[in-house]
């Protein structure tokens, strides 16, 4: 054991060097090399809920004589991600066998891509984050290089206790059992350059990448189900006060499937690596890379294996799979199927519609919501709302009236609590786009509100009605008339309602006269009730104050 030569006091500064490998499970209908259903697509069958060893066939089981057949849908999805990440798409690509023995790997080799990845040499500009951690394009961008993105197959799962559903009391067994449902599911492995400067930036990238992938419809992106798994490669450059620098060995932390663990693992290593170096003096060099796991309960990483016991994977081209040629037409059709992506939309919502970062994120996170928003804004503009107001009005409607109803419906449904532990891992797919109201109706509501034809309360009532299948397709303005929700500009009626409310609430009127101005709210409410919601609350308030004879 070499004696420590430096102490913490000798360290001037520690610089993080961080790159990432990200595994994304593609939501193809069938597995990447067979026709068995893909558990990562919950619409193709029962998804991850399928009973063990039911999503299998001779190819998945690696039965003698079976052969892999490439799933073109998986290639197309991978190309879309590659294009979204600014990668070059290979004209020729191939698959290689990566050999090792493990019971969850039926062929004893994984079909992967070694030296001719499908996508390579990309880069993506990610917005810098505000102090709440929200990516905000107005704060500028950081460029993250993408080394490659390649398509491979997933392994199955090795279990050391019985699944709870099979246990009949005890889950303990004296052997291991294998579930091959996930074996052969398509995995896209994305490898970045070591361009990250902080754990927060890495997390922001991870969240944006998830958003982009879900936007492209290439993964369900449910973190708890392992649809996205992060493997940061971390080391540090330690600058010493004596002018020397030391580079610590690279640590790869495997299989992080939450943003919280990703952040925790990076921060832990950033703290621990300088301490380890002070202890053992081991610096970056051949054979020093280690692989570590993540202990979620203890919030720290632990050593899995050092390079000495690394596998020799004996890569060689899989002779069962012909070299794949990708022509311009195929590549361009993948390119054409890519919609405007979240980062560009964030920029547009911030810049053209004046929304704040949090609002903008909420409106671009899910593709149906983002498209709903654009359609509603377009309708509002057509109905005469000025361009700079339309986005604001529609955003308000979606984020207030819409979000309220999404929450109501979500809490009505029993949800799996294990899926709701991390708020940033929202797996519920219910959005404002699923409520039943159409983007056109929202645009029209925005226009009615802008013209002052309906009150905020009426808008909320109408929003609710338009979500009801009974009113599907109804014209919001006609509906408003039928329900007497159009603002009444009849001053006589207003005068009458106000007078009645003032007469009925003499004690409150006295309080207001005595200076307790906030009590006016109850009176406004009473007038609104009398008006059946057709009055405009702001007008009512002014009128009441006027009639009481109090100035604000």
């Amino acid at each position: 054991m070499p004696s420590p030569r430096y102490t913490p006091a000798d360290i001037e500064r520690v610089t993080l060097v961080l790159g990432m490998e990200i595994h994304v499970e593609l939501a193809t209908r069938t597995k990447v090399f067979s026709r068995a259903a893909n558990p990562a697509n919950s619409r193709a069958g029962h998804g991850e809920a399928s009973p063990p060893n039911t999503l299998i066939d001779p190819v998945v089981l690696a039965l003698p004589g079976s052969l892999p057949i490439l799933n073109r849908e998986a290639v197309e999805m991978s190309m879309m991600v590659g294009i979204a990440l600014g990668c070059t798409i290979a004209e020729r690509t191939k698959w290689d066998r990566k050999s090792y023995f493990y019971p969850d790997l039926p062929k004893a080799y994984q079909i992967s891509q070694y030296d001719m990845p499908l996508c390579f040499d990309g880069a993506i500009d990610i917005p810098n984050c505000d102090d709440r951690g929200e990516p905000d394009p107005m704060l500028g961008f950081a460029r993250i290089g993408i080394i490659r993105a390649h398509l491979e197959e997933d392994a199955g799962k090795l279990l050391h206790e019985l699944p709870a559903s099979d246990a009949r009391g005890s889950t303990r067994i004296d052997h291991s059992i294998v579930d091959l449902n996930r074996a052969g599911a398509p995995l896209l492995e994305i490898v970045t350059q070591p361009d990250f400067t902080s754990a927060d930036q890495a997390v922001a990238f991870a969240r944006l990448l998830r958003m982009i992938c879900r936007f492209l419809g290439i993964t369900e992106g449910i973190m708890q189900k392992g649809h996205m798994r992060f493997e940061p490669n971390i080391n540090c450059i330690i600058s010493l006060k004596n002018g020397r620098t030391a580079t610590t060995p690279i640590t790869e932390v495997k299989n992080l499937n939450s943003f919280r663990s990703l952040k925790g693992a990076i921060e832990h290593e950033l703290r621990e690596q300088p301490r380890r170096w002070l202890e053992d003096s081991i610096e970056f060099g051949p054979g020093t890379k280690t692989t570590r796991g993540w202990n979620d309960a203890r919030n720290e990483t632990f050593l899995q294996r050092s390079k000495e016991d690394a596998h020799d994977y004996r890569y060689f081209p899989d002779p069962d799979l012909p070299v794949l040629e990708i022509d311009d037409a195929w590549r361009e059709s993948a390119r054409a199927s890519i919609p405007e992506l979240p980062i560009s939309r964030l920029w547009r919502l911030r810049k053209s519609h004046g929304l704040d970062a949090r609002e903008a994120i909420a409106l671009v996170e899910e593709r149906p919501v983002a498209e709903f928003f654009d359609q509603a804004v377009s309708r509002a503009s057509d109905a005469g709302v000025p361009g700079d107001r339309a986005g604001r009005l529609v955003a308000n409607i979606l984020l207030q009236n819409g979000a309220k109803r999404v929450n109501e419906r979500t809490t009505e449904q029993p949800t799996d609590p294990s899926e709701r532990e991390e708020p940033d891992d929202e797996s519920s797919t219910l959005t404002v786009a699923d409520l039943g109201i159409t983007p056109a109706a929202v645009g029209t509501l925005a226009a009615l509100r802008e013209k002052g034809s309906i009150s905020a309360q009426s808008l909320d009532i109408l929003f609710g009605l338009l979500c009801d299948p009974a009113h599907a397709g109804a014209d919001p303005e006609t509906l408003a008339r039928e329900r007497n929700l159009i603002i009444v500009r009849d001053d006589a009626a207003m005068e009458r309602w106000c007078a009645q409310v003032l007469a009925d609430n003499a004690p409150i009127v006295d309080q207001i006269k005595g200076g307790k101005l906030q009590a006016i709210g109850r009176l406004v409410g009473n007038v609104m009730k009398l008006s059946g919601g057709t009055a405009d609350a702001a007008q009512v308030r002014t009128k009441l104050l006027d009639m009481i004879g109090v100035k604000e």
């Binding site: 690696a62 003698p64 004589g65 079976s66 052969l67 050999s99 023995f101 004996r314």
Partner: protein, 501 residues
């Protein structure tokens, strides 16, 4: 209808003739099957050419064909023709053992594409043929179920690895059989057993359901007594298969229609390298006779230079072993196949090591180790990648032979002629202790697989060894995906020779 009495002296009936007689109502499918089963019962105890037989299913299936004929239903081109399949081909009934302890009790849940096409054409699969373990061997002696004997001399091997398929056809148990050819495993046993054996172009026949030995080289093909039967079988089994991405997406060729159209003045290439001083005199003689026969037919004989053939064996045994080490890794005792009984304290690694050490025979273990070494980090460049370079050079040699040579002023070859092995059938045990001598059996066949070309072996002039007349196989190699031309030339040689021992 009662079957006509079997005449032991009658010449064997070909598959094509059998199918014609059954279609014409001169013979029932049941009678044809009964004859095959009777031959099998009589001869298999001595020859050991079958691992598993299906008498009941075969007769039941033959009866349905006879009924279909009686009902006036259309019959397939192979209706009622008994056939044997090498036991590395998966059927959804019986066992698929690859002649290995590892799979001694393995039952496949599905049927290979080529087998299904035979069944759909009316063929009757009477049994699974013995073979070298996992198709690794050139004599049939590496089978876990014991060696197959050459029907022409029981002290000699029938060749391998499609030993049982060759012997079953040579012994007139079945008119046709399927074998698989990775480095000569159809052609070499066809040559040693005196039958016709054909390896199609790589990609011509689906490998789905063929237990892989070396995926980039394996190809299923027919063994039969005539070139016509080979064409008949190949026409039935060939063509693109959505379950095998390496099958060529080309229209299935019509082979029988043109078979008897001779090619006018064909150009036959004879490699310099075919005149090897190590060739058995009988092989030298047979090659000379075949050249003479072609000359008499008006062929132009040109010398071609397959300069890299000398490195063929080395390249083949690296490429094939490398792929085999990967293909056979799945036999780990976890999901199916032999699993060792573990002792207290044994771990996962012991399960793998013991199951594989017990389940695989010595030749299979030798190739797995060789292939693993050839792919290992630090050695892959020296061995596997160098072998791939040699493979490309061998391909180029053949490409040159099949293109006009301006410098030499020679035209493009229609086919290349050479022996299918350097010597006639050898004695059981003669080469088992010397793997390298066994590997050299394949010197004339492996390069064809490395180049992916079609080739056919047919009986040449026999030779007499120790007072026994033994067959000598002559091999014709064709252009990629030009099986019709290759078969026409083979048919010309067949008609000229009449070389059955």
């Amino acid at each position: 209808m009662t079957p006509p009495p079997s005449d032991p002296a009658a010449p064997p009936v070909t598959g094509a003739a059998l199918a014609a007689r059954i279609r014409a109502g001169e013979l029932t499918a049941v009678a044809a099957t009964q004859r095959a089963l009777a031959q099998l019962d009589a001869l298999n105890p001595a020859l050991n050419c079958f691992i598993d037989t299906f008498p009941d299913q075969s007769l039941a299936r033959a009866a349905t064909i006879d009924k279909a004929r009686a009902d006036g239903a259309p019959l397939g081109p192979l209706a009622g023709v008994p056939i044997a399949l090498k036991d590395n081909m998966c059927l959804s009934w019986g066992r698929t053992t690859c002649a290995s302890k590892m799979l001694a009790d393995y039952r496949s849940p599905y049927t290979l594409t080529a087998g299904q096409r035979l069944i759909d054409a009316g063929a009757i699969i009477v049994g699974k043929a013995n073979m070298d373990e996992f198709a690794m061997g050139s004599s049939g002696e590496s089978s876990f179920f014991g060696p197959t004997r050459n029907p022409l001399d029981h002290s000699r091997v029938p060749g391998g690895s499609s030993s049982g398929s060759a012997a079953a056809v040579a012994a007139d148990i079945v008119p046709v059989a399927l074998g698989s050819d990775t480095g000569g495993s159809i052609r070499q046993p066809a040559g040693l057993s005196g039958v016709v054996g054909m390896k199609p172009t790589y990609g011509r026949v689906s490998r789905y359901g063929l237990v892989a030995y070396a995926s980039s080289l394996d190809q299923i093909g027919p063994l039969a007594r005539t070139v016509e039967d080979c064409a008949l079988i190949l026409e039935t089994i060939c063509g693109v298969d959505p379950a095998d991405g390496t099958t060529a997406d080309l229209p299935a060729p019509s082979l029988l229609a043109t078979l008897n159209d001779p090619i006018d003045r064909p150009v036959i290439g004879v490699p310099k390298q075919a005149h090897d001083p190590h060739n058995h005199p009988g092989v030298v003689n047979a090659l000379g006779d075949a050249i003479d026969a072609f000359v008499r037919m008006g062929a132009r004989i040109v010398e071609v230079d397959l300069a890299h053939v000398a490195h063929g064996i080395a390249a083949y045994y690296l490429v094939a072993s490398a792929e085999a080490s990967s293909n056979l890794a799945r036999f780990d005792g976890v999901r199916y196949g032999h699993r060792a009984t573990l002792q207290p304290g044994d771990e996962l690694l012991d399960l793998y090591c013991k199951s594989r050490a017990e389940g695989f025979g010595p030749e299979v273990q030798r190739r797995i180790m060789l292939g693993t070494y050839a792919l290992s980090s630090g050695y892959a460049d020296a061995y596997y990648n160098t072998a791939l370079k040699v493979r490309r050079l061998i391909r180029r040699d053949y490409d040159s032979a099949f293109a006009p040579n301006d410098r030499m002023g020679t035209p493009a070859c229609d086919a290349i002629l050479m022996p299918s092995s350097p010597s006639p059938a050898f004695k059981l045990g003669e080469k088992t202790s010397d793997p390298l001598a066994m590997y050299l059996e394949d010197v004339y066949t492996v390069t064809v697989n490395l180049a992916g070309l079609p080739a056919i072996t047919l009986p040449g002039t026999p030779t007499t060894v120790d007072g026994v007349s033994l067959p000598v196989g002559m091999q014709l190699i064709g252009r990629a995906f030009d099986e019709p031309r290759l078969l026409r030339i083979a048919r010309m040689l067949e008609l000229a020779g009449g070389n059955r021992p």
